[in-house]
Amino acid sequence: MASAEEIVSGLGGADNIVEVEGCITRLRTEVRDPSLVDERALRASGAHGVVMAGTIVQVVVGPEADTLADDVQDLL
């Protein structure tokens, strides 16, 4: 289970995160600079997968996505 801190760090830090939203099993996030996203670190922290399309990054974390999104929001 990934922690909110690991998610923020893997997404390039709080300053890089424009928006984060939980959707059942995944975090949908928008980042400023996709090159700062560390997919390997996100997976290592427990994410099932990372899907990137431009500045939209989806991190698949399982059914705790909604709770985790709130925790990430608190760190921004």
Binding site: E21, C23, I24, T25, R26, R28, H48, G49, V51, Q58, V60, G62, P63, D66
Partner: protein, 154 residues
């Protein structure tokens, strides 16, 4: 463990997850399963619990039912339908409700979803199951709501 029989939550054509236009489902990142594509022109459609159990997540566009075996089955009604913010979706049960297999959980209009440019295909996924752990899918066949969709062996 005996297999968990997963029922079709709605009528339509059985589609493999690989053909779902969302990489998270297509690559089985949340688990193995199958999807149901409602018929063209389908009117308001009830989406039913695929297994008996407890509704552990209930959004207008997606819900999770946890079976007594521990298997949690996600039903995601259409793709990217979170963008509709519940518009056109009616939820019939609250989180924590105990449901029988086949009980209606959500009602939606597939034709309206398609009218917004989104896919109405509905993945039915055993969360955290191993990729390809749902063998022998009869893809391309039509199923009715409440008919067996697949058996998950665990």
């Amino acid at each position: 463990m005996s297999p968990v029989q997963v029922l079709a939550p709605l009528a339509g054509t059985l589609v493999g997850l690989a053909d779902v236009p969302d990489p998270v489902f297509a690559e089985q990142l949340v688990g193995a399963g199958a999807a149901v594509e409602p018929a063209a022109g389908a009117g308001r459609t009830a989406v039913c619990a695929p297994v008996a159990g407890t509704v552990v997540k209930a959004h207008p566009h997606a819900f999770i039912v946890q079976h007594e075996s521990g298997a949690a089955v996600l039903v995601h009604v259409g793709i990217d339908t979170v963008k509709l913010a519940g518009e056109g979706f009616e939820r019939h049960v609250d989180e924590g409700a105990v449901v029988a297999a086949g009980d209606p959980v959500v009602t939606f209009d597939p034709t309206a979803v398609r009218g917004r440019g989104l896919s109405a295909v509905t993945p039915v996924v055993v969360l955290d199951s191993a990729p390809d752990s749902v063998p022998g899918l009869r893809t391309g066949q039509d199923v009715d709501a409440g008919e067996p969709l697949y058996a998950w062996e665990g």
